[in-house]
C-alpha cells in the first residue's frame, strides 16, 4: 500500500485544466456568481496579504468568500449539496473564531494588526505564541478540508456525501473552486509564515514542516463527526489560547 506510486505532482493542475475544458452544466445562475465571488475573495485576500494590509480586513474578505461557497451549495435543492453546505457552515464556525484568536495573539505581541508591522517585529512570534501556532494548525486542517475534518466534502467522492458542497458544481465552476482553494491554502500558509518572519530559511523550514505534517495527518486519520470537531477543536483551541495569553501576560 505504501509503496504504490500515486499520481504525478502536477495532478492538481491537470485536473483543473481538464475541468476548464468541460461544458458548463449548472442548476441555476446563482452558482456562477457564487463560485466567482469565492475565487475573487480568496485571490483578493492573498493579494492583500502580500500588500501587507490589515489582518482583520483580510480575514473578513476571506470569510465573505467562504460564505458565498456555502450559499452556492444551498441554492440547489440536492440533499447532498445541502448537507455539505450545513457541514461547511459548521466548519467555518469552528475555525473562524480560532483564526481571530490567533490574530489577537499577534496583536498582543506586536501591538498592531498590520502584516507589515508583524513582519518587522524582531523576535520570531513562535517563541511568544507557540500554542497559538498549534491553534492555527487546527484552523489550517479544517480550512484545507483534510481528515479528520473533511466532512463537508468527504475527500473521496464516492463516500456518504458524494462530494458535499461541491456536488452541484461541475466543469469550469468546479475548476474555479479548486483554484480558490489553492489561494486559501497560500493565505493560511502565509499566516503560518508570520510566526517565523525574522529569517527566510526558518520561515521556509516552518512552512514545509507544517505542510508535511498536514499531509501526514490527512493520510493517517479517519473522518470524525462535526460534533466531535466542534467539541474537541473549541475546547482544546480555547484552552491553548487561554494558557498562551496568560503566559504572555505574565512574561
Amino acid at each position: 500500500m505504501q509503496s504504490r506510486q500515486g499520481p504525478p505532482i502536477l495532478q492538481a493542475f491537470y485536473d483543473v485544466a481538464k475541468l476548464m475544458g468541460k461544458d458548463q452544466m449548472l442548476s441555476n445562475r446563482w452558482q456562477i456568481l457564487c463560485c466567482w465571488v469565492y475565487l475573487v475573495a480568496a485571490a483578493l485576500a492573498v493579494g492583500m496579504f502580500f500588500a501587507r494590509a490589515d489582518l482583520l480586513l483580510i480575514f473578513f474578505v476571506q470569510a465573505a468568500g467562504a460564505v458565498f461557497l456555502v450559499m452556492g451549495a444551498l441554492s440547489v435543492k440536492s440533499p447532498y449539496s445541502q448537507v455539505g453546505a450545513q457541514r461547511e457552515l459548521v466548519q467555518i464556525l469552528t475555525y473562524e473564531p480560532l483564526l481571530i484568536l490567533v490574530f489577537v495573539g499577534m496583536y498582543l505581541v506586536v501591538g498592531s494588526f498590520d502584516v507589515g508591522d508583524i513582519l518587522a517585529y524582531q523576535t520570531p512570534l513562535l517563541r511568544k505564541l507557540p500554542l497559538m501556532f498549534i491553534v492555527l494548525s487546527y484552523a489550517l486542517t479544517i480550512k484545507l478540508r483534510k481528515s479528520p475534518f473533511d466532512f463537508s466534502t468527504s475527500h473521496h467522492g464516492h463516500q456518504e456525501l458524494v462530494k458535499g458542497v461541491m456536488t452541484e458544481y461541475s466543469g469550469p465552476a468546479l475548476g474555479l473552486i479548486e483554484m480558490a482553494h489553492w489561494y486559501e491554502t497560500v493565505l493560511i500558509l502565509g499566516v503560518c509564515s508570520l510566526f517565523w518572519a525574522t529569517s527566510w530559511i526558518w520561515m521556509a523550514v516552518l512552512l514545509v514542516a507544517t505542510y508535511f505534517a498536514e499531509l501526514v495527518i490527512d493520510n493517517t486519520m479517519a473522518r470524525m463527526t462535526w460534533r466531535w470537531m466542534l467539541k474537541y477543536v473549541w475546547s482544546i483551541g480555547l484552552a491553548l489560547t487561554f494558557i498562551n495569553f496568560i503566559w504572555l501576560h505574565a512574561g
Binding site: 506510486q5 495532478q11 493542475f13 461544458d23 464516492h158 462530494k163 461541475s170
Partner: protein, 145 residues
C-alpha cells in the same frame, strides 16, 4: 497553447464513474480491483468519483434491463461534455448469458452511445485498464460542447 494544455490534461485526469447495471458482481469486482494499490490506476490520475457531474468516463457493467435503463440514461445525461462510455464484460456488450431473459434490453449501446467495448466474463483488470486508456484516446479528440 492553452487549448493544447487542456487537451493533454484531459487524458491525464480522467475521473471515472462506475455504474452497475445489474451485473453478477464479477465485472464490478474486477473494475474496482483496478483502483486498488495492486493495479493503482490513480497514478494516471484516474479517480473513482460518485457524482456524474464530475465524471468524464462512465464505466458500465452488467446487462441493461427495463428497470435500470432510465437510470443509466439519466446518469449519462448528467455528465457534462466531453465524456466517454466504456461497456465492460459480455453482459455490458450484448446482455451476455442473460440476454434471453424477459426483462433484459441487451447491451449498454441500446440505451446510450458506447465508445469502447471491453469483452470478457468477467473482463480482466488489465483489459479494463486498456479499455479506459483507449477511451481516453477518443476522449482527448472530443471537443467541449
Amino acid at each position: 497553447m492553452f487549448k493544447k494544455f487542456i487537451k493533454n490534461a484531459r487524458a491525464k485526469s480522467p475521473w471515472i464513474m462506475h455504474f452497475d447495471c445489474g451485473s453478477c458482481n464479477g465485472c464490478d469486482i474486477e473494475t474496482l480491483a483496478c483502483l486498488t494499490p495492486l493495479y493503482d490506476v490513480e497514478r494516471f490520475g484516474i479517480i473513482n468519483v460518485g457524482n456524474p457531474k464530475h465524471a468524464d468516463v462512465l464505466l458500465v457493467t452488467g446487462t441493461v434491463n427495463h428497470r435500470n435503463k432510465a437510470v443509466l440514461k439519466n446518469l449519462y445525461d448528467q455528465m457534462p461534455e466531453p465524456k466517454a462510455v466504456v461497456a465492460i464484460g459480455a453482459c455490458g456488450l450484448s446482455g451476455g448469458v442473460f440476454r434471453d431473459c424477459y426483462n433484459v434490453v441487451g447491451g449498454v449501446d441500446k440505451v446510450i452511445p458506447v465508445d469502447v467495448y471491453v469483452p470478457g466474463c468477467p473482463a480482466k483488470p488489465e483489459a479494463i485498464i486498456d479499455g479506459v486508456v483507449r477511451a481516453l484516446a477518443k476522449f482527448e479528440e472530443k471537443k467541449a460542447g
